[in-house]
Every structure is written in C-alpha cells, then in structure tokens.
Symmetry: C2
Subunit: 800 residues, 2 copies
C-alpha cells in the first residue's frame, strides 16, 4: 500500500499553497487540541472511494487546489493507493477549514463520504467513517427502486442509524452519453461541490470550468463542451433518496465463516478490506523476517472483468494457446480420468483429449471468471476456425466458478501429459504464479507464468523493483503459489540496482549448503552407508531431470539410517534439516529493462560474467513501466517517453549482443506472440545450460499505447517481429563444442513495414503529432537502426 | 597521506590480542593522565623511518606481535604511509608498556629512533622526536669516518645536545651479501631487539627465528638459513659510535630561502617534510573546496633513481620514442633557436634538428635526473643502432640539472614543430602531466602524459580511484600542470563507482554554460554587435582546431564593446566571467580496469550510451593494481590474482566489443609498446569523434611480475600483441557514413607463442608452480580464448 500525503495549505491573503509529499505519516495518532476534529467550527472532512483508473484522485487534487487557491480556506488531502495494476482502489481523505489544519491522521469522522464504484459496497465498509447526519453520495446505475434491492442490509441499517443524507447519481451513463467513456471524475467533482457547499456553487462551477479551459483548450471545442456539460450534469442529475425508517430495524445476520485458511481470514481478507491498520503486531508473530504465505491471491476473487471468455467445446482444437498467453493463469486446460469425469459438477462438459498418449483422458478448457481480468488475449490468439473462446459478460459466466473449483481442487494434474517440448504439453503443468494484480493483457506475466510451470517447484527468484514486484508481491497479495506437494518458487524482491547480485547470493548460499551435503554424502559413500542412494544423489545433484527422485530416495535412506557416532549424527541431522536443498535448484532473477539495461546493468553484467548457473529473465517493455514511462537504454530511437519527450535520439542498446561477447553465456531474445514454441525452447535451453543465461522477452505494455488496446498484445508482438522491430534469436555456447555456430536467428527476415508498426503505437505516433519533421527523421533512424541490427544478426547466423 | 592505526593489545594472562584499524585518529591530542608519557615507568616508545619497499612495516608488525603475544607487555603500533608508488616513506610509531596504553597520538618523545634509509637524513628531521638520552640507529653503508662527512651538521649538533646513543649498521651490504637483495628488514629487526632491550635478546632471537620458520619453511633450507643469518648479523654487526663533543658546538647556518613559489615553500615543502600536521587551518583560506595548485611535483626533485639515462648525441636519430614512453615526463626533446643556443649553459650540447621545417632549430634530448625514477624504459626502446641512451649512476648525471632547468624555463616550445600525426612530432608538445609518484616503468602514465600533450590545455579529467588517482593527485603532489599561458587540465578524483558519470557531469555543466554563451552570441550576431567574432565563435565552438583562436577574438571583441543597456551588460559580464568556457573543451574520464570493467561499468555503459562527446581512457592492467592485485573482469583466464588464487577460470571480458555493439561509439584498443603511431592515431581520432569514445590501453604493471622487470614494460606490450594475447583495433563509426567498414584490425596476425608469453609473467607462471595440471588446462583455455577473440576481430575486419 502506497500512501501519498499532500498537504495543501492556503496562505491567506496571498493564496499561495505548498505541497509536501511524505510517506512516513503516523496515521494512528489521535485528535489533539487544535485539531480540526476538536476545535474548528465550519470545517469539513470528506472521504471518497474511487478507482485507480477513474480520475478520482486527480479531481480531488483539483478540488483541493481550487479551495486552497481561490478562498481563504486551509485545505489538506491524503491519498491512499493500493498496488494493483488493474482495478485498483483509491481513498481520498480531504479536509477544509478556516483555521490551519494539524491532523496527521486519516479522516474517520467524515461530513461527506462518496463511493464512485458500486462494486465496493460489498467489499469495503464504505460508510464506517461517516459521522452522524453526514452526507453519502453513491455513483451507480440503479434507480431508487433498484437501490433498495442492491444496497447491502448492513449499509442500509447503518445509514438509517447515522441519520445520513443519501444521494445517488448515474455518472457512469452520463459519462458514456457525453462521450467521456469511463471518466466520471468531472461529473462527480461537480456533485461534490454541490453537496459539501463550502463555496457558492456558481463560483465552484466557474473555477472548475476555468480549470477545464486550461487543461483542454488545445484539444478543441468538442472536448471542452463535453467537460463543461459534465460539470452541469453533476449538479443537475443529483438525486436525493429518502431513507425509509424500516432500514433502521433491519435484522442483520452474522456472515457465515468463510471456507478459507485461517491466515486468509484473519490477515489477508482484513487487509484486502482496507482494514489492515487494525491488525495488532502479534498477528505477525513468526513472520518477523517478512516471510509471507504463498498463494494468497487465489482467495481474492476480484471479479474485475467486464467480459470473460466462454469456451465453445465443439470449436476447440485443444492447442492450449489460450492458456499459454493468459496473463493471469485464469484459463487452464484440464485432463480428467473416468472417475473425475463421473464426479464432475453439473455442466462440466468435456471432450476426448487429442494427442499421443492422451486419449485415455477427457479434455476441457476451464475459466475462472472471478480471477479473469477480461483482457481477451485468450480469445484473440485462439486459432480455431470459428473461435473457441468468445467474450461474454461476467455475470453470464458465474456458473463456471464451481467448475473451476472442481478442476483445481479435485482433478489431479496429469504428469504424463506434461511435455515442455511443446506449447500444448507445457500447459498441462500447474502455473505457480496466478491471479496477480498485473494489468489486463500484461505482456510480462505470461512469461513468468510459463517459467513457473516449468521450474516453479524448485525455483529461487530474485525480483528487481518494478511492475513485476508490484504485481509479484504487494502485501497481502502473493501470486507465487505452491503445488499440492507444497513446493513452489521462493521469491523475494530486491532493489532496482542489485537484483542480479541478490539472485547470485541466493545461488551461492544455497549451493554452499548443497556442497556441505555433498561432502557428507561422499563420506557416507566411502563408509558404505546408504552408499547407493548417496552416490546417486551426488551423481544427479546438478541434473534437472533426475535429481528430484534421487533426492527423495537419499532423504528416505538417510532418515532410515541410525547414526553410529556423534559425527554421523551431526551429518544426518544436517541433511534432514536441509532436505529442501537436496533437489537441483533453478536460480532466477526477474526484472524489467530499467533494471537490466540501466540501473542494475553493472551487476547483471557481473553476475553473467561469473560463469555460474543462473538465469536472468528480462521483461523488456522498453520503458520504465512501473514509475510511469521514463526512457531507458532499451527505449528505441523515436519513442516518446519521460526524459525523452521529443523522441529518444539514441538507438536501443543491444543487451543480448553485449552478453554474447562473453562467449559462455546462453542468450535468447524471444517474443511469445510471434513464436510460442521458440519462447518455450529458449527458456528450456537457458535453464538447462550449465552456466549463466539471459532471456530478453519482448513485452507489450500499457505504456506503449497499442492502438487496438491490450487485448491485442500478443498480436502486437507478432507485428513487432514481422516489421523488423524485434528479432528472435538464441546463442547457445554448447553448440560450439560440436563445431556448430552458437547463434541461431529464429525469426524470419522482416517483411512488414516498420513505420506502420511504429504508427500503431502511441509512444511513436504521438511524436508525429507533436513534431512531424523530427518524427520523420527519427522514424528513418529507427528504420536504419533496425536494419543494421538485423544485418548484424544475419551475419552472425551465417558464420560457418 | 594514508594513516593505518593498529592497536595490538596483549590481554594478559591469555596473551590474546586484538587488531583494530582506524583511519580517523586524533593525532593532535596531548598526553593525558594515564598516558604512557605521563604515568608509566619501564615503557618504551619508538619511531622508525622506513621505505615502502624495504619491509620495515612488516617487521615492526611482527615485532609488536612477538612482544604482545609472548610477554606481559601491552603494545601499540601506528603506521603512517605516503601515497608514492615508488620510493615511498613509512613511519612506524611503536609503544610497549606494562600497563594499558591509551595514547591516541603519534610518538614524539621516543626512547628509540631508527632510520632505515640514509637518503632521509637530508629530507626529514629524523631525530626531532628523539628524547634526551635516547638511542638512534642509522642504517648506512658509511664507515665511522664517512659518517662524520655525511651526517648533516644540524643532526650532529642535535644528537650531541640530546646526549643520544648513536649506532650504525650496514644492513644494505649485509642483505646483499646474504642473498636477500634489498630486504634489510630482518637484520634491522634484530638490531632493534638488541638495542631496545625489552626482553632478553636470546628470547627475541628465538621468537624471530620461530616466525621465520613459520613463514618460509616451505621455501627450503637455503631461504631459512639466509634469514636466520640475517637475525644473527643484525646483532653482531651493530656498531656504536661515540659522539664527538665538538658536534655540540657546530655552527649551524640558516638555510637559504629556496627559489620556489610561496605556496611550495609554505605548504608543499612542509607537507613533503612530513610536517603537514603543524600547518594551521588558516594556511588553506581560499582553498576550502579542495582546489589545489597545479604542478607541485615539479618542486619535489626526489632523486629516487639509482641509474638514469645519459644521452649520446652522436648516436641519436631524433625519433623521440624515449620521450614518448617515459612514464614520468623526465626526458624531453628540446628545439632551440639561435639565441637559445647562444644562451645555453655549459655542456648543453645540441645537433642540427632533422625533419621537414625543423632544420632551422638545434636539437637536444634533455633529462631531468632528479625527476627520473630510473626505470630505463627510454633506453630500452631507443632504436638507435648503438643505443643513444645508456643508464648511468645518478650521481654522475647531476650536471644535467641546470641544463634541464634551462630547457624548461628558458627555451620556448616550438609550436611549429608539434605534429600529432607523428610520434616524433607529438613529443615537441609540453607534457601537462609530469613527475608523478607512479612506479618506475609504469605502463599507465605514458598514455596519460601523451593525452595531456595533445589536449591538456583544454581538458577536463574525472579520474576513478585507483593507481591513477594515487599518483595523479595525492596531496600535496599534483603532477597535472599548466603551460606558460596558464592553461592545463582541470582534474578531479571521483569514487570508483561513478567516474564516467562524474566526467559526464563536468561535460553537462560546462556545456550548459557554453550553451548560454551561445544564446548571447546569437543575440549579438542578430543585433550586429561584434557580429563577425560572435558568429565565428559559434561556428567553431565544437571545432578543436579553430575554437581557440575564435574564442580569443570573440573575448577581445566583447571586452572592447560598451553595452548599451542592462540586458547587454548582463550578457557581456557573463561572457567575460566565463571566458574560460569559450574554447572547445575536451572531456575525459580516466581509470583502470577495476573501474571500467567492474565497479564503474554500469555508469561507463550509461555515459557511452548517452551519445555525448566524452572520452573514456581505460588503463587496463587486468587487475586491481592499487589495492594489491585483486581479480577483475578484465583478468584473463589462468592468471593468478587475489580472489583467483588458483587461476581465474572465466575469460577476459571484451569491453571494447560491448561498446562497439552500440554502433555510435568510437572504440580503440591500443598498446603503445607494440605500435606508438596507432596509439597516437586512436587517441587523436577518439577525441575528434563528435560522440562518445572508449580507449582501452594495455598497461603492464608491477602486479604482472614481468620476468625482466619494469624496464621491459614497453617490450612486454610488444610480446603481448605478437603472441596474440592482446590486439590492436579501432572502431570508427564515421567510416560507416562513407560506406566503409568501421572496424580496423591494427595488429598483425599473432605469430608468437602465447604460452611463452604467459610463462614470462609471474601472474601466470606461478600457477604452473602451484597447480601444474590446472595450469596446463587454463593455459590451453587462455590460448583458445585468445584465438576465438582474434577470429572474431578478423571476421569483423573483413566485413565489406
């Protein structure tokens, strides 16, 4: 949870104000003498619940500035954000008063509460902080009648008891009608001014329209008019709802105890209700080092999608590509044996599985509608003649929930069907990364998910700060999970600048323990104690395929052995205590281009140079995504990014080539949207290579502004490669041993039009709008750079 | 000045002791109650002056440990070092007492003082800290009679007044005789024990011999025997000298005021006498930011050489190669016109200058014997049939001092002779880096010197920590100097990890000022004010050849102009204030491979990627030289280094190739010992290239253990290239514009034997001694790596 604290103080009479940002505020202090709660008449405290994407925070900042700048009022605003990339929550805490405000804590005694998203009513205790006689504004599409049906009883009763004034407004349909899409902020800002009544509404309207003029005057009269209308409609369309006296007498039933683990109920759900502050320190006994249980996202069931895919059994060709590309692991192929088919819930339709050795199973593609974000990637990539996946409204697919539960809880993973030599076969493995808070259509998470399917049960991951840590582990959300045997990735976030080194430290630490076990195993071998098992364990300790079984047998044998002397006891105890270290490990560092090309590059280079068996996965969005799109050395010439607002002048750094110069590093460039099989092969080879590996994965991102939206992110990768913007290759040093060229160019010669590709993304096309001549120059440069790069690759690939 | 503070305390009765290192000791505090000076009978304070290279500090540490470990004594030792790489000074401050020692200041009331190097007698006030009745031990080759002639009168008088006991010992000849070379430490340690008499001498002998046994038992009986003998001779060969009563009556004349600038007399010389602590803070008023005058090393005149080159006029072919390779700029060609010939001092022999346009001058190669370190590089590279330079004892060449002074003070630099297209022509330019404290035969400093000859008058240098900052600027020594016009490099040391960025900041800051001047110049051009000069300055502001003259004219014109209004006044004032920024600058970052390949690589890469016009010079010794030989990513496979004590396993990083991958960076690998002209050309092109440049210069180093010694460092570079260990190339992106291959391989195909080259350096050959089988494997790997590297270069060079 990120908290931004902004205190905007009007310095009467000059009306200057200062903005401070402080993330170290003591929220739990109580009102003190002089505080607004205690001393000030005529003050106003407000709390507003909004979406990360609906502009609520921006509107509230603007409101605060208007009141601070144009009136004698002192103003204060705190904004509380979560870390979700899609469907995130914002809470605005606003105070306005005639005296200085010295309240360093959140608003909990609000004169005004607004809820900008009706889905929050069942998730959060929205009006907890509303004071008696206060005003509550709800943005919803319901009529007064429907409101009666949809408001939770607890809320109705509470509103009645608080003698609240209740208002509704349908800003959703107003915004759509005005052409504003999902941007309800201006409408709701006007409603706010009308209801809080701190200044004459005519003045408020004037200030708001002035601000609109300032922001949008360059965008033309049409845009101005729709925003002006939004202000007017926010006032005219407000509806006051009388609260029936019957609401006060409602009989509230205690909610049923949820069927979830205790930790989820007592910690995760509390935090997810935005009530984490009430948890006492004692809740975390045993977790003082920051360890957090895996797989908590499986209990979120956010239902954030508008539309979700419906599976058409008859059309499906069982390629599993939909599962492969799903950024949230919320659509998965299921193979069932006869008993599992027999016990399946209603509507759990299946068809005979296709493929060698699979015909004993029934096949089904199963969606989790409440975990799906509705990006549509699955439907977009579906190669079936008549699409086997069709996007349908979420509400229509809720029957799938119990089928999903059956599939993941009761159906065994069919190990014999898993085959990492084929895209299809890879998807029968369980993803150990699921339901993250990544953006709908995220280009990064499908790679991560795939890697966890392949190596997740024996993986260590060091993760560089960035999107991949925001969605990879923002308390209490842990998308990294474990399989039914209790094995899953060990994951930890590092700083931006040292992720490779951090992962390297994991390797050194773990391999040191394994080396000690090896010494002991050698001792036992020599003494003829559990010799066969010990010897076999040593032989396979760096062998991905056979280490697991050998480890199990060695561990069992050593447990069964009775040590003959204290030295043996010590060795046996050590091995048993460290049995998790027996199977071969897979060491990884994950991060974006900001880490790999820029801030962490020195360390990345050092770790690659070490020659040690570590795998680095770079999710290349060509921009600092998490912090809002700053230019990195991965950004190509001509792209607009922060710090490169008139287009980047220098060409993209060729990170892969730099690693290849060592000669003993496995390097791959991949783009799953162009070639899923090449991605799979590169990841497989990289992990198997007994030295350092670097995988650079092309990742479309919301920062690119793909014209068709993020549902097309897989297609966009294809276009990137076909146009010569991105290339696929592998450099496998092991091929040199056979006298072969280690470099293989895996993508075809560019056939498309690079400039057309560039024009399809706002990061490039906006340069054309802003600086047309410069754009031509930089597009030409981008084209020349791409050509030079391709020629280099081609030349390398042609070496004999 | 680096001060290491080690406090070794014997914890009676267990005889443990702790060693602490602290470089933040308050030396200027005065004796306090409880201090050894005030309270303790039977204590002993000692001060010993030694050379950095003679083992004095090691012996004193050993002495302190013996007394701390085997007796009930408390012991304390401080060691004060200077930063000179050759001929450095050490001062050991030792205390022994029966009570705990709490004296956090240097010894200034010594019972015992020793001087291990007779040349110190005239440089430092050696016996200043000797207390009345104390003992003074002098290591010298003099007889008692010669002593009378050689001891300075001040010292004689002081010894007599202090009623000192005077001892001499000829440890120099004893060590030579025993086969110990210059290692006099054991002999002098034994003499110390005999004279301080803290424990029975039989015990001291036993402890010393035990320590010898422990250290050298693996090296064979012969080595043990010579060290045992050193102990015995240190006791038997001590000679006590009676101090004649006449010494007390000697008439001491006040020294003549030296003919040097006031700052040298009052600050630099004081510091160089090791008396810097007595300087009051007020000495440094005006230098609070750390600014230090340039060129102070010219006043050191250390006379550190044993042998120096004598020039043979008749043999000289005037190639200037000796000057080119001299690490200390202490041999330079001089061109004289008729008047200068006429005024020359006695013995200033010259010959007619050879070469086009030079025949109007007389030529001479001039040595500065007191600045020469005697490495012999000049004589080694001299290509004359019968060498024109022959190494002779320093004392025989002291007549050259006045000739040197004439050459540098009175003879004009002949600008028309300077030609940076030829090695010979380059040496007529004044080096603006001279007489540094670098090792004799240093492989790095000839490159730096050359760069300052070419661009020193308009250069900014950011210098990464390491040897090049230790010899480049250790207070009070500043080898970077200025020409007679007052122009020279602006130099500053950065940390290891950010040198490239630091230099980049210099560039950005300076170019920002120049951009402002450009705006003003454009204003003046438009207004028709000093228009011609302003316009010409703008046109040439990034033009190395013509900017200087245009700047001078613009500056003169702007000074002559009377501003017509306040805005013009502001502009004119700004330009006059910043006139130093008018000429085109040359921005550089200097450092070693520890900086460039390892710790500062992330920043180096970032700065190179920026596309800005900055030049990075990497002095590649393939090892962390300044800190004592730790392995870097530049270290090649098979080399022994710290952290790679059984040979480095991974191959050398190809820094140049990594930079080349950008396509817009000028990259060169050079080794002046193989091709002086290629080095010159690469530096010239790198600086002229209007983008980032990287020059990787091969630098032999004492850490390599070149079998023939450092006088062969230039030859060693030749061998390195001929054997295929190192390659010369340039990558000039500008060639691409003409459709040419930007990559040129400048060295011939390897012809020599790589393994023979490896065996010629201790860093490699010691692996053969320690791990013969591993050595074979790693030598083969080194050979294969070198071959692969050459093949890559060849392939690149062959592109059409």
């Amino acid at each position: 949870m990120v908290t931004v604290y902004e205190n905007l103080k009007s310095e009467h009479p000059k009306n200057n104000f200062t903005i401070g940002i402080n993330d170290d505020v003591t929220f739990l202090s109580l009102p003190q003498p002089g505080d607004i709660d205690v001393a000030q008449a005529g003050s106003m405290q407000c709390k507003i619940w909004g979406l990360g994407s609906d502009g609520t925070v921006g509107a509230n900042k603007n409101t605060t500035k208007i009141l601070g700048e144009y009136t004698n009022l002192y103003t204060q605003a705190y904004f509380v954000y979560d870390s979700k990339k899609s469907g995130g929550l914002t809470q605005s805490h606003l105070r306005f008063a005639k005296m200085p405000i010295r309240s360093p804590y959140l608003v909990s005694n609000a004169d005004f509460v607004a809820c900008h998203n009706p889905s929050y009513l069942t998730k959060y205790d929205i009006i907890k902080d509303l004071k008696k006689g206060g005003t509550f504004l709800l943005n919803c599409q319901w009529t007064q009648k429907e409101l009666e049906d949809n408001l939770p009883d607890e809320m109705k009763k509470s509103l009645a008891q608080k003698e609240a004034k209740l208002y509704i407004i349908n800003a959703i349909d107003i915004a759509k009608g005005l052409g504003l899409g999902g941007r309800t902020n201006t409408i709701l800002q006007a409603a706010f001014f009308q209801l809080v009544n701190m200044i004459p509404i005519e003045d408020a309207v004037k200030y708001m329209k002035d601000a609109i003029l300032k922001s949008y005057s360059k965008k033309g009269q049409k845009v101005l008019d729709m925003n002006f209308a939004a202000v007017d409609r926010g006032i005219s369309d407000l509806v006051q709802v009388d609260i029936p006296s019957a609401w006060a007498a409602l009989n509230i039933q205690a909610p049923a105890k949820p069927n979830v683990p205790e930790f989820i109920e007592k910690v995760v759900n509390v935090m997810n209700r935005q009530e984490g502050d009430i948890l006492p320190v004692s809740t975390f006994v045993g977790m003082e080092d920051g360890t957090f249980p895996a797989g908590t996202t499986a209990y979120e069931k956010r239902g954030a999608a508008v539309d979700v895919p419906q599976w058409k059994l008859e059309e499906c060709i069982q390629c599993n590509q939909c599962s492969y590309v799903c950024p949230h692991a919320s659509i998965r192929p299921v193979l069932l044996n006869e008993a599992e088919v027999a016990n399946a819930p209603e509507g759990f339709k299946t068809k005979k599985a296709l493929g060698k050795g699979l015909d004993k199973y029934q096949y089904r593609m199963q969606l989790s509608p409440l975990d799906c974000t509705g990006c549509g990637s699955c439907a977009a990539v579906c190669p079936a003649k008549n699409k086997a996946l069709v996007m349908m409204p979420l509400a229509s697919q809720l029957e799938e929930v119990k089928r999903w539960n059956y599939a993941v809880d009761k159906v065994e993973i069919k190990k014999d069907a898993i085959n990492f030599n084929s895209v299809k076969g890879s998807q029968f493995a369980q993803p150990l990364f699921e339901f993250s808070g990544a953006c709908a259509g995220c280009g990064e998470t499908p790679y991560i998910k795939l890697v966890t399917q392949m190596f997740g049960d024996r993986m260590y991951i060091a993760n560089a700060s960035g999107c991949s840590t925001a969605y990879g582990g923002s308390t209490p959300a842990t998308p990294y999970t474990k399989n039914r045997q209790g094995c899953g990735p060990a994951w930890s976030m590092s700083l931006f600048e040292d992720c490779a080194e951090y992962g390297y430290g994991m390797l050194l630490g773990s391999e040191k323990i394994r080396a000690t076990i090896k010494e002991y195993a050698e001792f036992f071998t020599q003494k003829g104690i559990v010799a066969a098992e010990a010897e076999n364990w040593i032989k396979t300790m760096q062998d991905s395929e056979n280490s697991e079984e050998a480890s199990l047998k060695f561990s069992q044998a050593i447990r069964a052995y009775s040590p003959k002397n204290p030295m043996e006891t010590e060795m046996v105890d050590f091995i048993i205590k460290h049995k998790d270290f027996l199977p071969k490990k897979s060491y990884w560092a994950f991060g974006g281009d900001g880490w790999a090309y820029d801030i962490g590059y020195g360390g990345l280079d050092h770790v690659l140079a070490s020659g040690k068996n570590i795998n680095l996965l770079v999710m290349d969005t060509e921009v600092y995504s998490n912090t809002g799109g700053q230019s990195s050395k991965s950004t190509a010439a001509g792209a607009i990014a922060k710090f490169a607002s008139s287009g980047k002048r220098t060409k993209k750094k060729d990170l892969g080539m730099m690693a290849i110069s060592y000669g003993y590093i496995y390097v791959a460039q991949v783009a799953m949207g162009y070639d899923q099989a090449q991605t799979l092969k590169a990841i497989r080879e990289a992990e198997a290579y007994p030295g350092p590996s670097l995988i650079i994965a092309y990742c479309p991102c919301i920062e690119h502004g793909i014209k068709g939206g993020m549902s097309g992110s897989q297609m966009e990768m294809k276009k990137a490669v076909e146009s010569g913007y991105w290339h696929l290759y592998t450099y496998n040093p092991q091929l040199k041993e056979d006298g072969k060229n280690p470099f293989t160019l895996d993508s075809k010669a560019p056939a498309g039009d690079l400039k057309e590709f560039l024009r399809g993304e706002v990061r490039y096309s906006s340069l054309q709008l802003a600086f047309p001549e410069l754009a031509d120059e930089l597009y030409n440069k981008a084209e020349a750079d791409a050509k030079e790069r391709y020629e280099n690759y081609k030349r390398l690939a042609e070496y004999k």
